[in-house]
Symmetry: C2
Subunit: 411 residues, 2 copies
Amino acid sequence: MKASIVTIGDEILLGQLVDTNSTWLADNLTQESVVIQNVLSISDKLEDIVESLELLSSASDLIIVTGGLGPTKDDVTKKALAEFMNTDMYFDETMFNKITAYFEKVGFTLTEAHRLQCYLPKGIEVLENKMGTAPGMYFTQKGTHILSLPGVPYEMKWIFENSFLPLLKSINNLGVPTLHRTIRTVGIGETRVEAKIRDIIDELPEGLSVAYLPGLGQVKVRLTARGQNAQDDVMEKYKTKLTNALGDYVYGFEKTLLEQALMDVFVRKGKTLATAESCTGGQIAAKIVSVSGSSKYFLGGSVSYSNEMKRIHLGVQEETLIEQGAVSEQTVIEMLDGLLQSSGADIGVAVSGIAGPGGGTPDKPVGTVWLAWGSKGERHTEKLQLGKDRIKNIEYTTVVAMNRLRLFLTH
Amino acid sequence: MKASIVTIGDEILLGQLVDTNSTWLADNLTQESVVIQNVLSISDKLEDIVESLELLSSASDLIIVTGGLGPTKDDVTKKALAEFMNTDMYFDETMFNKITAYFEKVGFTLTEAHRLQCYLPKGIEVLENKMGTAPGMYFTQKGTHILSLPGVPYEMKWIFENSFLPLLKSINNLGVPTLHRTIRTVGIGETRVEAKIRDIIDELPEGLSVAYLPGLGQVKVRLTARGQNAQDDVMEKYKTKLTNALGDYVYGFEKTLLEQALMDVFVRKGKTLATAESCTGGQIAAKIVSVSGSSKYFLGGSVSYSNEMKRIHLGVQEETLIEQGAVSEQTVIEMLDGLLQSSGADIGVAVSGIAGPGGGTPDKPVGTVWLAWGSKGERHTEKLQLGKDRIKNIEYTTVVAMNRLRLFLTH
């Protein structure tokens, strides 16, 4: 099944909003073996919407439209759908009664705008939306399935998952069967990943291919199978081969994030963790805490941004700060020691660096970052020499810190 | 001038990459009064690229294509451009010499893939790329300006800003003049923003309009002028009126982030800040540190995630934790007191809550968050009752904390 995604609204065209709705939809459709042919953002002009629907329907089996629904949006999408379907609007009593009942329950007053929302194009199927008042709408036109969803992400997602997905499974003509597997690596570049698995790639059976998706400090290896070899046992066999060839660089599969992999290994080993951060300013801790359940192993830490805080919270020696500087191996070692001492954690990580873009010296240019990690009995240090982009330096250092902790426990 | 943006590559269609390139381009083109008509993502199939260029060129004055360039991408975009232009490829000696010289300088070995990169469609203008080896390419076809950029964000941005922008300014036929102003508010919902400025909106001169762009805890008010009233003095007048009507809820304008506004007010008042975070896990500190120059006022803080850390780092009383619980007004007050004491900061903020999705009780459901902020002489507390989404709860609490600190110093 081939699909197109259309986003309606000015925010994306003005560059004021990143289109995460389309990414979410594309990801979820891909998991259903739907092939996305194009993702389009257009303005909320009626004629543009109709024209796009006409254009896309000739080549797509499914079109998903998001946005342009709801009381303040003038419901332009509904009007465009009616024009595209060459039909009139009707007043949906059932929907109106539901909204009325809901508003009475929560004690809100129904407005004229809400009443107008209940006018829908004749011939559509209303898909339930338990997260708001704008409905999902579904219909077929000349063999193309069309789904219209509101633009508010949690409403869009709810309708898709609960009201549309069962329907999709019933209409989805799979065409060429397709399967994906994703292997997530960290601490190794794209070319080195490729070199390590080249032999396996050369012997892949027909229909299987590999793509590399590089991120900051991470590379995802995506194995795709199309056709007769798109079978779970074939995929698992080559996923295992690739994983073995990549060894320790692999931290997880599919949608597992590095911070989740980190939690898994700490919980499995029954160890606790604390952090001491200068240049990353709490980013390592925040990443760790973003995972539900992190309190099982993460005790907390210190954001010792100023020298004073490094002394007070972590007991870094004043002479170390004066003689070696805040960005030095000795400082991060003392930060780590103080952290392990004061927190009582089994394992810790300490970071100090010059995130930039200012603050560099000839000796210690912007992007110099020192890390120390380990336990009371076994400490390691590492120096990074990064670029001038502050946000990138912070994010990259966070990835390195989490990976060092992961490897410390897996070795 | 009307423009289309086309992104080439599978990652977006598979939902594995959010298309931030298009957002950046749309934002930068909008600032040049270019009107974006559509943003399209397509696969890297040659025929799809050619077809899209043909389709879009009939209605767009400018098409910007990103992606599908570079040694590992098989340079499909170049081949598609040549087919669209109905021209052949030539070997660009100048480009080859430049790449050779660069590789000699950094001591890398030139590969065959790099040599192949120097084949370009006849008739294009090569735009310099100081960030990599894939060139920008520019040409006109039947009156439409076409720009091709690599997909790597920092290369794309560099070529656009340095090699293309001067060219754009010379070819840009402005059409209807358009101006934008953005007023950024925090701590007030969309409907209340609208109620506060309704009178001003009713009296806006012809061609001026207002749009609301809601985010988590924040609403951006965008004032747009098209036509004869698109003049700076008219815009400034109404921007001032709107700002005055919105009062303290306004923290900044245009692209200013809340964390930048926070730094500005602390630096202006000459005060220092420290943070004590439980459920936000360092996110408040990380946001603060993400702004360059934050060391001028931010000392650091404690990520006191476990009860032990609350006791050790901040001196929260054991009986408070037992009797009132870690998520309580008394706990955040003691966290704040301990923080101000140990850090020596003028002002502090302390947060403790249940981020979810687990960990709630009937008394303290998921989403219960306590904040305390202030100085030694003046403390405030606030209880939030949020939803069940962990990431959203952390981000929203971070916004509230930064806003409370901002207002504490501005009042």
